[in-house]
């Protein structure tokens, strides 16, 4: 499979993966493009990997985690918001109503990535550990912590709904 065939077949999957980890469509497309550009630069090496798609997904995930470690990575709104020039995100309406989607935004980047790889990409803990360069026990601990946080958030929301 040459690069163009791979990108045509799996590119959109990468954008979706980028969206599930970042929650931002613009960033998802950038992450997919960064991953594809890096893969294209070393395509021979990517092709030789056991699973080229996992190799490219690793690039995307690591790019996202590197991005979140930067000091400038914030979602704080600017002081002067020009609503006339904001670009509507077509994904926003669909997912905004989902409490669980909102709760995911409160997790750390690594916790969210682990959950996405486990429950969206259906990877086992060993594969996730290999992809992130950590131990399987760390994956289990991170996932457990993230699930506990989500459960707590959902329970507190349900209590809030019962209040007058």
């Amino acid at each position: 499979m040459d690069f163009e065939e791979y990108a045509s077949a799996r590119g959109q999957e990468l954008v979706r993966l980028g969206f599930t980890v970042s929650g931002d469509y613009q960033r998802a497309e950038d992450l997919a493009q960064i991953a594809l550009m890096q893969a294209f630069r070393s395509w021979r090496k990517v092709q030789k990997a056991d699973d080229p798609h996992t190799y490219v997904r690793r690039i995307l995930i690591n790019s996202y985690l590197s991005m979140t470690r930067r000091r400038s990575f914030t979602e704080a709104p600017a002081a002067e918001i020009d609503t006339d020039h904001t670009v509507p995100d077509p994904a926003t309406d669909i997912v905004n109503s989902d409490d669980l989607w909102r709760a995911l935004a409160t997790l750390s980047a690594r916790e969210r990535v682990v959950l996405v790889l486990r429950y969206y990409q259906d990877m086992d803990d060993r594969t996730i550990a290999d992809l992130l360069g950590i131990k399987p026990s760390s994956v289990r601990a991170t996932a457990s912590r993230a699930l506990a946080a989500l459960r707590k958030t959902r329970q507190s929301h349900r209590v809030d709904e019962r209040l007058p």
């Binding site: 163009e4 960064i34 550009m37 914030t74 997912v95 669980l100 996405v116 699930l147 459960r151």
Partner: protein
């Protein structure tokens, strides 16, 4: 809520979110074009660097081997005109790396980007930078009273809420700077942007 129920909800939420993502057009073309253009820029830069080294080496060779022509006048000798002195001084004051603090009409400076969106000016009249995810480069001139012109040869390849440095530089007709702050002004005197020195 049981763990299994939460896990099922998570799967459904991720699937729903992923399904909502609009189709991104021509990802393969954009990736290959971006890499090839970056490689072309690298080749051009490498060629220019090689040519410069060859020129310097040639000059050094001729000086060391008894060239009959008179030695070149030292560049840093007495300035020949007040304009030259002022321009060099101002360019030196501008030299360094600056981060955007306020750009008129641009409201999403604080959004996270792959790279820090900075501008670096050098006293040789060149500038480089990043709009957050693309490398930028160009040249600039500074006049006696802060008159400013610039040329950009960068190209935007990746979208990331790109900081419009090139638009600021294109609109700027005058600059003022102190140790910590750099201000760009349009031709009608309006302030276009404020940058702060990073180092």
């Amino acid at each position: 809520m049981s763990k299994t129920e939460l896990e099922e909800d998570l799967r459904a939420t991720f699937e729903r979110a992923a399904a909502s993502v609009p189709l991104a057009p021509d990802l393969a073309g954009r990736a290959t074009t971006g890499v090839r253009q970056a490689q072309r820029r690298t080749w051009i830069a490498s060629g220019a660097a090689a040519a410069a080294i060859a020129v310097v080496a040639g000059v050094g060779f001729s000086l060391n081997h008894g060239s009959t022509s008179p030695p070149p006048t030292p560049v840093a000798s007495k300035p020949t005109a007040a304009v030259t002195t002022a321009a060099v001084t101002t360019a030196q004051a501008l030299a360094g790396t600056w981060r955007p603090v306020k750009l008129n009409g641009f409201t999403t400076l604080k959004v996270g980007r792959p790279d820090d969106p900075t501008l670096t000016f050098r006293s040789d009249g060149t500038w480089t930078g990043s709009d957050g995810c693309n490398s930028l480069a160009g040249t600039f001139t500074i006049g006696q009273r802060g008159e400013f012109t610039s040329h950009a040869d960068g190209q935007r390849l990746i979208e990331c809420g790109n900081v419009p440095h090139t638009a600021v530089l294109a609109a700027a007709r005058r600059i003022s700077t102190d140790q910590a702050t750099l201000r760009f002004y349009a031709g009608d005197g309006r302030e276009v942007a404020i940058y702060a020195r990073t180092r």
